[in-house]
Symmetry: D2
């Protein structure tokens, strides 16, 4: 009890079990840097507002700097009885500088302080996550360029659909991650708002200057309602939702990498350094990385659900339930960033089995649509063309042939509109190159997409 | 089987149970307007690109217009065997205009068509949802203005904390919904992209013009990768996540309305027209609306989880799993919009028990922080002031007094720094008005917040 | 307002929008049969307890029977203004029999009535779901028997691991569904409890007999606390959690069916009657059923989350939020049952590509563990054996050979412990048959598992 | 690489980042006790089956015992490069005893080993959780007994409904937790199955005895399919779902404790030792414990969603995704157990404000149903009685009276059926005692419920 800075009105000491149950210090100590940064800005503002003397501020700011270094050098012991990172640092401050340390908390509450700390932290992490997404995009673009004109079977329903460029397939992931980056930027706008000065929930009667602290801490805006400011965790949820989408994209990519490295597909080979073996089966080389990444999507989905549930039905303003925001947020950040980083490396060390992809590009009647479109260009309504080619495929299935193996006579038994030039059509490269509208799979379109991407990747 | 437009290569008819299990027509018929709108734009483009004759297009466009009217007048019967809204409309078109109807689907697949339909639909619904949010904000602002200077106890941990203005409390919700509107706008940027022309996944070899259809349909941009475009449902999830936040905010507001209309709180009275009774207890008047709205938060959270799960681990490109996107999306929109609309009405018909709120504003030592800040302004370090006032509260609890009931002598037994002017401090209105920083609860700050809000509500 | 049976204390009519927002009749009408069944039992009890005269009861029971038939024959119009199925039926009853109809609701509230209805409904649905699971198990066992000794590659990490029997693989799913059936039975114990007589929350002062109504309705037990009984939805959540596990199992099975019917795997072929085609690609035959089932796992997960969220933090006893229990429950039941039924049919019409499975059974060094175990039986510690075979595999990879293609000299260059009998080991059937412990993949074990299953499937 | 026990076929060392990303040792070290226990049983079986010599087994078992002690005394350093608890222990074993240590893994894979470890661990934790639930039930029963005949307002829709006994209200929670205990027991049946001997997925060709290891480890049954056994995590999900229901119940209880300790309710007072203060507001005494418990419901819901997502769509058998099962499981157990334990203590130290509860018991027309039932017993149909009393309440509202304050004349102006004895009815204790059916709120029923509970609490 001795140490509790709020003990004034209490006669009983906190129950030991309560101390351990309520303490957030085991996880919120991660915010120490931002807590100190916020305190220094708060301190400077108090001086400017004549709420603190210059020399007092000097003492406090110097001591806060020392505490920062103590923590960074592992010389600081966090303990449950300190409750949280704010109290731990304030206590240490008072230890170091005596009574004047008690002046730091003027015009401030832990309610606005923790909101500030999370926002400062998240601003930085959003920036880093954005960079991690970009690194993965870079790996994808590099693989796309290295295999620019490689054809492969495009899939729908995991069935061969039409030939596409391998590079076009990779650039589909580039697009997903591009949207992820846009979402991170959108989210940042709502993170980048200073709650400091909202105090417990009502603001303070002391003449503070919120705009000044916001400026010192690099916030372009201050929050507009003190009750909202201390009870708002929208920005944590919005970030986690954006992170869930990133993980969803990674889970799709992981699924494909796992499929592609199976014996049956044989499309790619993961580097040994990115696989592990089996304790019992000596031949195994397992795609653990994409499997784990795929599994970790559940983790982030779970955190999102956790946060939404936590906020459900809470009356205003701050409630202690909000303390449960940090662990899901921290783990979301760690999970997403590590997954992005390792996937970027994985793609760098991936071997592509070009022969296999090319061979499969035309297997499974992937040219059927080209034949139908050929008929359309010769005047047959599309629905009729679709039906005609459907019957050709049925015929091929019975004969055990691919479309490109049919003779002219066989073609003509279905329709006289088909002429010799059909054979130049029945080629994966031709098919791919004929799809020239914006965003389609022709080489030219993919080259343009890559050029555009390379421009975006510089920021 | 007769009717299946893709039947060419099939020898067996679809199993009846399969038809019913796979049909999406029961729910996707809701998209009919957008499907027809998209087809008309596609048709116009085909003419411009010489892929269709003028007179054919005229026939098709006129027939599509007729089908639209048939549906709107309930003259159109949707059936499971039609599979989906696209096939139903295409079949009807062929019925009406014969073989030329089969030309509509040129250079298009259901994969890009459904992506287009959902995007057109969601653009409109985002706009409407935004308007619904605004209406609720208007009701809140109106109540705030009607009770501008009414004091109430501000809460943290559902314990009395400090006096705040009732209007300030309502404006906290205004802020939450303001962020919701910003999120809807952000989301719209990613919805507002035309996927048309991506065809099945690879684009088409026919010389279509994607920019033209995008323009005709009011899209400022076209999608950049065809494989991504047909398998992307990010925008559905992003919208649902934004909707989950709206529901979360509504659940908090609902919780407060339920608390406030309890016998114990007695803060507000809901209009009878917005309550229902009990089948057994004759006296009951229940706050069903906020209870249902609170409960419906679960519904939207569930849909979000459903969509995220559905997308997890799907290989590219389109998979039939994606069909499961529509029911959660539709129900999310209906739930959010209805909840917003009814809450706006509820607030309009709410009676505020002003006396009760004022009476409770200073109950429970809500002035304690004011006393501590009084001491700080007289030079006592905040931590010491906090301790001193804590002991006063402990003393009051023992004596069964409120702080404002202490005598000068009693005050001075704790500290000599307190003078007569303390009594002018111990007043809820004074307390509220002393909190003057941006976003704090003083009358002036709330008036400014309302003025700002009124400006925003015009858009 | 006219029609509201609880209108006594109200002066204002219910707002139209409120009527529509709060009405549950659009979905709870599904419970009509159970509602009437419950009312008849309640009525009989009231007579026995002298709370109603015999002749009154006769009139009521006959009229309830008529209403049942009216509903079944579609002669009954449910309307929003009736609020819910209970009120709709009670109103119709009063219409039919006059004032005596008003005696039915004696000693009962909608709070215990709805709890009763859902429990009666769910009892029946659990039984039906159990039967649906069993049907799918039967299809699996039939396929297992039809392919009893067929070998295939067993997978871990989607990499070839060891040969297993195809029948053993199918029986793994049998086991998952066996646990699902056990879970349904466990859940049923908690569903099978009568809440009737708990009234609004406190019980009733009328001398009712709860045991009698429980008996009449086939409940082995009555609920033990009236406050709990009207606010308990544990059983709905527990069922939905069990359903989520069923869907999870189905999603795994679906994933495998999708993989296995890809061109790359080519392990099975789905019947055409269970597939659909593409609107653009004439060759497509898509595995829509397993894709949709996989996608629908999200739906049930979402409902589970919805229900858990809905119940979070609700004070006792009944709150209107609970009305949100029915739609997720109903859709969960429909989704799970339809998915089970169609998967049972799908397996019946599935063709297995036996040659392909046999060929792949030994591809990818699946014999490596057999070689290691061979060495262990000759005295080499397992870890050393593992390492030795690992090096053989590395050698094979370099030489482009399978293990079974090595010569005796090559084997002996790794260890002299290998003798000629190694070649009899390197055979998939031998490998499979050597795994004879309970639950392993030898033919004998699988035959026993099937025999056991067939016994269980009779119940 | 040196240390990797599966390194045989690998030429490249594992990438450092991969080692860190894939290592589970930071969390699965928690399973060390069960891992060693399982290894000892496996070892004994190998001896019995002549797969190992007696003296070898002695050496191994002794060394395993030493390792157990090393870990318990903190003398063992777990490192990422050891991958997981199994490898860490096996490596240490080989360090201690040399080559013979490599014989332990005979006929076993990490796939069945980890399934075994989790099952052994969870068996014990289910037992402990069950005891924790029981302790909380004990606290509730003790409070119920201490306040046996105390009346309070029963609530529906958070509106006063009818008087109930405070003890009856507490026993409602007893019932919820009783069901939780039943669910834990049901779940245990599916946990309590030995997977050992399933090896990687196919079983082993070595002549092991699965029944013997199951017996040695206290399992009543062995798993029936090896492929299922290594890829089954149903039991983890089923436990987490049961835990989610416990947390849901705790969230409801927490909500009530928070409401009841508000100034407005004033029903109970939490002990100071179970509350904390504010850093800014000197008067605050916050109900942090129930707030945190309420918030933690989200945490467990999130873990449930995480696990379900992780398993969605995984092909058989083991996939590395499964590694993601442990952290959610561990945190679920810790969260549930700590929440139960602290809530048990909280109830022990809770003060009940008896006067306040009694005073509120009849406020808000809670007697209205009694009056209606009084009329029914005098022959009025219930619906008519409901309407009559509804009008009385409306009259009272206008006059500002409670029902018990009406005069005989006023009563008779509504119906002549009311006689003088009505006044003896209008008393909370009378009301409560008149509700005598099983599970109702009369003193006798509650006493019986408590007696039943006390019997159950001995087990």
């Amino acid at each position: 009890m001795a140490g509790k800075l709020w003990k004034g009105r209490f006669r009983e000491a906190t129950h030991q079990m309560v101390e351990s149950f309520t303490a957030s210090i085991r996880f919120d100590q991660r915010l120490y840097k931002y807590d100190i940064e916020g305190s220094i800005a708060h301190c400077r503002m108090l001086v400017r507002q004549k709420l603190k003397k210059d020399e007092e501020a000097d003492v406090l700011i110097q001591a806060l700097g020392e505490i920062l270094r103590e923590i960074e050098h592992g010389l600081f012991t966090f303990e449950d009885s300190q409750e949280d990172v704010h109290m731990a640092i304030e206590q240490r401050l008072i230890e170091k500088v005596g009574e004047v340390g008690g002046k730091l908390h003027t015009g401030r509450s832990r309610n606005d302080q923790i909101a500030l700390d999370i926002r400062l932290f998240l601003k930085e992490e959003i920036h880093s996550t954005d960079q991690d997404v970009r690194e993965l995009q870079r790996s994808l673009v590099a693989q796309a360029k290295a295999n620019l004109d490689l054809v492969m079977p495009g899939f729908t329903h995991l069935q061969h659909a039409q030939p596409v460029l391998f590079s076009h397939h990779l650039m589909a992931y580039y697009e997903m991650f591009r949207r992820d980056r846009l979402r991170l930027q959108s989210c940042l706008e709502r993170v980048n708002v200073s709650p400091l000065g909202s105090a417990a929930l009502a603001g303070t009667s002391l003449p503070i200057d919120r705009t000044l602290t916001a400026e010192l801490l690099g916030f372009p805006a201050v929050s507009r309602n003190s009750i909202d400011a201390v009870s708002d965790r929208d920005f944590v949820i919005e970030f986690t939702a954006a992170a869930a989408l990133i993980m969803m994209h990674l889970s799709r990519m992981s699924e494909e990498l796992i499929l592609w490295s199976s014996s049956e597909f044989g499309y790619v080979e993961l580097a040994e350094a990115f696989c592990t073996g089996s304790s019992i089966m000596p031949q195994k080389k397992n795609p653990d990385i994409p499997e784990l990444v795929r599994g970790k999507s559940g983790r982030v989905y779970g955190h999102l659900m956790s946060l939404l549930t936590m906020m459900k039905g809470l009356p205003l303003a701050y409630n202690r339930d909000l303390q449960e925001d940090k662990e899901p947020l921290f783990d979301t950040i760690d999970t997403v960033r590590q997954s992005l980083m390792i996937m970027a490396r994985l793609w760098e060390h991936l071997s592509v089995n070009r022969e296999r992809l090319e061979e499969m590009a035309t297997a499974g009647y992937t040219m059927a649509t080209d034949v139908a479109e050929y008929l359309v260009l010769r005047g047959m309504p599309f629905r009729q063309a679709h039906g005609t080619v459907g019957r050709m495929v049925q015929y091929c299935l019975e004969k055990g042939k691919e479309l490109q193996e049919l003779t002219m006579d066989e073609f003509n038994s279905f329709t006289k509109l088909i002429a010799k030039d059909i054979f130049s059509i029945l080629d994966a490269k031709h098919s791919v190159d004929s799809r020239r509208a914006i965003g389609s799979t022709s080489l030219k379109q993919v080259e343009e997409a890559i050029a555009l991407a390379e421009g975006e990747l510089t920021t």
